[in-house]
Amino acid sequence: MHTGALVYSVTASVVAIAFVACSSAPADSRIGVVAPDRAQFPPVGDLLTHRCGELDCHGNSQRNFKIYGCEGLRLDPAASPGCPSMLGPTATPTSDAEYDATYRSLVGLEPAVMSTVIHDKGKNPELLTFVRKARGDESHKGGALVVPGDDQDKCMTSWLAGQTDTDACARAVAPPTTP
């Protein structure tokens, strides 16, 4: 091969390799997630803060699954735990930003598994660790808090299935539900 052609060939190869290397996924790319409906989340968020969001449980910023709401950890630095239903109108109700933070924390726990569950219209909610832990099917410091088919379970799983059972959610947070 002519020397000039060889140099040209090598240069072209290097450029091609560099192009391929640089055309891979950008370092800041994100995987997608098939997420449950954010708009239908607030009743589920109310259940989670009521049942799981105590300050000594998931109402703690150091937990993987963080739950925000007026019954526990607050997002607004000016707010403190306590709902209007407990402390009167001066207390701050759960804000939309708090629902959003809890939603993001929950969906972000297992985005790939969540995608599978939502893609299948919530047919197998037990694939999600938070469901298994709530039901006590997996080691959980807080124990079994939910019985499959009870109002709490219906509230969570109906949301995962695409249509939140708001009646079940309302019954689940109506006192007395704990213990």
Partner: protein, 171 residues
């Protein structure tokens, strides 16, 4: 022979240090020393998280299942003695314990090992009741959550009443 003994002692000491829990040690250290004139006992360290030391990992005993301090009025530091703290666990079992002169109360785990979540009521006099509106999920130390001034991660200390006029016997 001395060298062997020294080497063995060093190894034992290293193992002991390696097996320690630095998080627990730091939590204990963060509590600081005893207050002047108040030695270890039922009235020491009011307002501190009892189970840091009395939780089974030492350094103090006995091990408690629940412990805390009750103050008289929200935002004030006067203790609330003779308050009956009624605790109900998830099995429906109930125990009551009375606060001492500094507002402290505790239940040794050998007397009762409740199953969380718990609900708590404070009783004073014949009729006054102040119930905690949320459940205790796992931590038997009241002041793990109830500390300092109200903030996003704490409602502040446990108190009997919001207003002095709400107390039993108030005119």
């Amino acid at each position: 022979m001395k060298h062997v003994a020294l080497a063995v002692a060093s190894i034992v000491a290293s193992v002991a240090l390696a097996c320690g829990d630095p998080v627990h040690s730091n939590a204990v250290d963060a509590l600081g020393p005893e207050a002047n004139g108040v030695g270890p006992g039922p009235t020491h360290r009011p307002g501190q998280p009892c189970l840091v030391c009395h939780g089974g990992s030492g350094p103090a005993g006995p091990q408690f299942s629940i412990g805390g301090t009750v103050y008289l009025i929200k935002g004030q530091s006067d203790p609330a003695p003779n308050v009956v703290v009624k605790i109900t666990d998830s099995r429906g079992q109930t125990r009551s314990v009375t606060t001492n002169k500094v507002g402290n109360f505790y239940i040794p785990v050998e007397q009762w090992d409740p199953s969380p979540p718990h609900q708590v009521e404070l009783h004073s006099g014949d009729t006054f009741v102040n119930a905690m509106r949320t459940a205790i999920g796992r931590d038997g130390s009241c002041s793990s959550c109830h500390f300092g001034k109200p903030a996003p991660n704490t409602p502040g200390p446990v108190y009997l009443a919001t207003d002095p006029m709400d107390l039993p016997g108030a005119m």
